[in-house]
């Protein structure tokens, strides 16, 4: 696979008569993600008549429009003009970093992965053992260190309500990669921390899934009834551009947090941060240490 910055020439296509689809890059990279994020932000601010939904994704985005209000040619022209100015000019981002406690190698995903072993590449290994092996990591300990050591970008929210896709903020050679299950499972525990391709995720609801399963978080990220305090303003926690830091926990702490969520005492650790792609690229480990330091600093 090629290294370095991919050339950025976006590809425009229409998804029927109501969607404009723009692929910033065929390959995933932080640069492609930032382009998707900054162009969609600028399109939102432009308040173009007839635009009904603006959906940033990992390395592409989609704009839904009402063709009775704006023609396909006009929406493409408007977005292209915005892309020319907003494309990559300011690769900075005002965002927040959120700490997510994770119980790795937990009993629930373990029980589930055993039920679907016939759909997996390595039926005699757990998902963590398999992923550690193909990424050259030293067992569970080495895996947890690699997975939770550096923060991750929420590069897209979707598939189902509130599910974040996460992109690991390390050099490409250090990014964990693993294939999806050979055939998707029909069941995945709620709040499973998963991984497919180069993307991590948190399953917001119980259901089908094809990503490798590494653990669970006791911290809900979607609440359609909005009874959980930190989800009372909006039922989904994540937005594209949020930064996630995993914190490995053991079973007693998992149980304690789950109980606190139940009684309304739990609130997630999150801080506002300004992210600079330039500074990040100049010193990835140093910049990440600074970012994650804000979580429990002042």
């Amino acid at each position: 696979m090629r290294q370095g910055t991919p050339p950025m020439s976006s590809r425009y296509s229409f998804g029927g008569d109501e969607h404009l689809f723009v692929e910033c890059s065929e390959a995933m990279s932080l640069e492609a993600f930032f382009r998707s994020l900054s162009v969609t932000k600028a399109v939102r601010e432009a308040r173009i008549k007839g635009v009904t939904e603006i959906c940033p994704a990992n390395a592409s985005f989609q704009i839904k429009f009402d063709p009775d209000l704006i023609s396909a040619a006009d929406i493409q022209k408007e977005v292209q003009a915005i892309e020319a100015t907003a494309g990559s000019s300011h690769a900075g981002l005002k965002t927040r970093i959120i700490e997510i406690p994770v119980l790795y190698d937990d009993p629930w995903t373990h029980e589930t992965l055993l039920r679907f072993r016939d759909r997996h590449q390595a039926p005699d290994k757990t998902d963590i053992e398999y992923t550690a092996e193909i990424n050259g990591l030293d067992g569970l300990e080495g895996f947890v260190k690699a997975h939770s050591g550096a923060p991750w970008f929420v590069s897209m929210v979707g598939f189902v309500a509130g599910l974040p896709f996460l992109y690991q903020m390390v050099e490409r050679r250090r990014q964990i990669q693993s294939p999806k299950y050979l055939r998707p499972r029909t069941d995945t525990p709620k709040l499973t921390v998963g991984h497919g391709g180069c993307f991590g995720c948190i399953y917001s609801v119980r259901g089908a899934g094809g990503y490798q399963m590494f653990g669970v978080t006791p911290m809900p990220i979607y609440d359609p009834n909005q009874k959980i305090k930190y989800l009372s303003d909006f039922m989904c926690l994540f937005n594209p551009g949020d930064i996630v830091k995993w914190r490995p926990i053991e079973r007693p702490e998992y149980d304690a947090i789950a109980a606190d969520v139940e009684t309304g005492k739990f609130s997630p650790v999150m801080k506002s941060v300004d992210f600079s792609l330039e500074e990040f690229n100049a010193d990835i480990d140093g910049y990440n240490a600074k970012l994650t330091g804000t979580l429990h600093g002042n």
């Binding site: 029927g16 839904k64 979707g158 309500a161 509130g162 294939p179 391709g197």
Partner: protein, 322 residues
């Protein structure tokens, strides 16, 4: 005013015209799969076209009314009965307090729409009463109906009984065997031969056909243009770096069985898409039964817009007729 669910049917949900605006965080539009049929049912009972009704897939529910209400059933040919006595579809009829609405077996189509004067008055969530079952959101407790549920009704004046849609303007019981699509998105990923073959082949609705999407089988597997997998996409030729899935888009995992995403669409993922069914034909999909034969035909943007215009003309004709 309320109705009690005696029997829920196979999969009956509360739906209105949908919940646009939240796709960027994975919440799909939801709403009636045959939106035109729900609009018409509402018009027949004097509701606004946006009112919430019931969508009953393949089998009707049994509902007991605690007050007089005007009812209309459109979409699939699922004959209604009041205390066992048959009523016409596409026609308003009265159900009196204490009476039970039930249904005969499905004769044609897949989804019937039951509008009740005043509308089903479940709470509005993010601007809509539609049910999104995967996210346990909206509708009645975020799920399909179950025996014993009591659905509140809004206040509505009783319009005349026997209001009917002229036969020439009814659509739903004779679903099209043709779905028009606009090639695009990742269409270039398959060979010229595969592109031609996709339109030549006869497809059949697979049993896996629901509100999330309709799967088709029976056509030839698509041949891919060779490539080096882009970073993050995955090694299968049908994989892409996870992207948004338009409502109506046609994904073909591993190139074998096309899936058209519908009202409860998963909003994104890592399978390539060969194009998108045009907006005017999406309602037709909601009336397709498993095993039904379907052909896809290509149209360009002008063709899609013309079909959209025709669809609007039809709604206007129905409004004028009522």
């Amino acid at each position: 005013m309320a109705i009690k669910v005696v029997k829920p049917g196979l999969s009956t949900t509360v739906q209105d015209l949908g919940r646009p605006g939240y796709y960027h965080i994975g919440i799909p539009v939801s709403g009636a799969m045959d939106g035109l049929a729900l609009r018409v049912a509402n018009l027949l009972v004097g509701n606004s076209e946006q009112a919430a009704g019931l969508e009953a897939a393949f089998m009707g529910p049994e509902l007991q009314f605690d007050a007089d209400a005007m009812v209309a059933v459109t979409g699939a040919e699922l004959p209604p009965k009041v205390d066992g006595e048959t009523r016409e579809t596409w026609t308003s009829f009265l159900v009196k307090a204490g009476q039970t609405l039930s249904f005969a077996h499905l004769k044609a189509g897949a989804r019937a729409y039951i509008a009740i004067s005043g509308g089903v008055d479940v709470p509005v969530v993010l601007g809509s009463r539609s049910t999104y079952t995967l996210g346990a959101l909206g509708g009645f407790e975020g799920r399909k109906l179950a025996a014993g549920d009591v659905l509140p009704l809004g206040a509505g004046a009783l319009v005349a009984e026997g209001r009917a849609v002229p036969a020439t303007l009814r659509r739903g019981s004779t679903p099209a065997a043709e779905l028009r699509m606009m090639p695009g998105l990742y269409w270039h990923r398959i060979t010229d031969g595969a592109q031609a073959g996709f339109f030549e082949d006869m497809w059949k609705v697979a049993p896996e056909a629901d509100r999330i999407g309709y799967r088709f089988r029976g056509g030839r597997a698509l041949e891919f243009v060779p490539r080096e997998p882009p970073f993050g996409a995955g090694s299968d030729p049908s994989n892409i770096v996870d992207a948004c899935y338009p409502y109506g888009s046609i994904q073909v995992p591993s190139g074998t069985e096309p899936i058209v995403l519908h009202r409860d669409a998963v909003s994104g993922g890592g399978y390539f898409m060969i194009g998108t069914v045009i907006s005017a034909d999406m309602d037709l999909i909601g009336q397709l039964q498993p095993h039904q034969k379907v052909k896809f035909t290509p149209v360009d943007m002008d063709g899609a817009l013309k079909a959209r215009h025709d669809q609007r003309t039809l709604i206007q004709a129905i409004r004028a007729a009522l």
